[in-house]
Symmetry: C2
Subunit: 362 residues, 2 copies
Amino acid sequence: MTDARASRVEALRRALTSAEVDALLVTALPNIRYLTGFSGSNALVVVSAVEVLLITDFRYQEQTALEVDPAVRVVIEPVSLWTRLWQLLPERPGIERVAFESAHLLYQDFQRLVEQGARWQWRPSVDIVESLRVVKDPGEIAAIRRAAEIAVAALERTLPQVRPGLTELQVAGLLEGALRDEGSEGFPFETIVAAGARAALPHARASTQRVATGDLLLIDFGAIHAGYCSDITRTFVVGQASGAQREAHEVVRGAQAAALAGVRGGMSGRDADALARQYIQEAGWGDAFGHSLGHGIGLEVHEAPRLARTVDAPLPVGAVVTIEPGVYRGGWGGVRIEDDVVLTPVGAEVLTQFPRQLLELT
Amino acid sequence: MTDARASRVEALRRALTSAEVDALLVTALPNIRYLTGFSGSNALVVVSAVEVLLITDFRYQEQTALEVDPAVRVVIEPVSLWTRLWQLLPERPGIERVAFESAHLLYQDFQRLVEQGARWQWRPSVDIVESLRVVKDPGEIAAIRRAAEIAVAALERTLPQVRPGLTELQVAGLLEGALRDEGSEGFPFETIVAAGARAALPHARASTQRVATGDLLLIDFGAIHAGYCSDITRTFVVGQASGAQREAHEVVRGAQAAALAGVRGGMSGRDADALARQYIQEAGWGDAFGHSLGHGIGLEVHEAPRLARTVDAPLPVGAVVTIEPGVYRGGWGGVRIEDDVVLTPVGAEVLTQFPRQLLELT
């Protein structure tokens, strides 16, 4: 195993011992990638005290040879991964109590455990691997940093090409082409390009609407490097900004600056969220910030921890999270500014280096 | 309701009556979109004899107003969709037995039904909405046809720009930029651009590998229009093809032509698969075709029905499916040719109109 993977598996084994189980059945693909390196879309993994077993299908035979850690036992199964699991599991001595991932196992697959796996004791578990993934190691932070650099470089190349008359889809295409050209392995989520009143839709997709002079233009996107995601948002004005646009942008910029300056590892998710929320409320826009401040990023673009009003738990040092306040008014538009940061004991290091003041695209 | 949506809901209600349940809890997002028009990423839907109820969160308030069918009762919930469900469901008279989607409900959410929803009788169900989605109506076929046209137009624009020295990622970026420019709402799956020996990986992603003269170049991608997907593959040679490359391509082209000519609604998935498989086996490449012939496409890029050795059920007339035989040799490369077709009682209408002979990119 690579050193990083070996230490992940060792940490998982300690967690399994604490949970008094002999093994974990891993069905969540990001968790499988974290533990083994496998990036395909179909696999079952069993981690026990002595082995990491990965079962996948024919399509991934070549790929497993290229990317799966050599310490993992790989089994290629032509028909049913589950059938093969029921053949292989009885051959493993000392496995009686097996945890499964209750947030990543479908009801129909749980029925397989009950029916075909009746000889084992199945224990629902929550976030066993996810809790390991929260604190990033230096290699992971380097990958996210690179994904952030790719995203910023692509945005810098795209903005000079934005002009009134392009559709939101065309702007997304320019950006995505630049992301690929800069080396992004993919798109961690559907690129959001929202012009004018559509910027009030916090999760608008790009559409055939044309960008017009005077529009707010909200762009929310990311890059992927070595499997790790970045996630960045900036909101522009096409042409000269109106007073109302300037005011909304300045409220969000100030709120984001307050959050970037105040957030640190050890603070609760609630207190982090309050850094921006209080600023926005005091500026008179409280009701317009309807989502939470941010979320962890890593192998997934939304992962633990959450920076939200409902989260009392402390944010771990070494987590990588987004800081993304926004204000939205139906029928008018919206502004969001989002950066990715590594939490330290004393603050936050920003990974997405791009100007935060209002840019007018002219 | 639009006529198409109203008839879908009516068909679902007949299925619920047959299944002897009073309502269906819909948790699969494509099924929610099919029934209501909602395209967001977070919602619960309950379909009963008298109502279609959709619960979603703050982020989608504006979006639901724009896209959800006016006959659907929409509830915006600021905190927890499940908590709101337990408030709303008791207010609905006549609902006692409720089906849930066992292939789309996580174990942890099933536990909510057992614990917080103990006053209802929960019945696992499989493919109730999916089975309605298999047969496409004219509007759906028109949307897939448009998605196919977008994909073909983007490929035509991209090929003249492919040259040795570009990375697979750069080729993907050119293609994706063209897809956006042609109006694709997104990418139904990660674009596959696989050069040289990487074309042997049936699910290779685009990588930083550079395209070289003499390489096989396999490109598998799609477009999205009005939520509906297309899915097309062609395999090219960069420069002049070798004899072995020509042979492999000719085997796949012949197998695909046999399948396109022979497939029709009413045929079993097994018999459809055999059309291409037998051709490839008789050509001496049998072991090299390791996946199945095709799959349905629609709101999802992989949906029912499957064209595979294990499927005895007849393929429905009106289904839209891929026809995608391929041969792969580890360390050497691979060839796949994929088109999308509508099944009719007498044959198949091809939606992806692009040459199938071997193209040398020079």
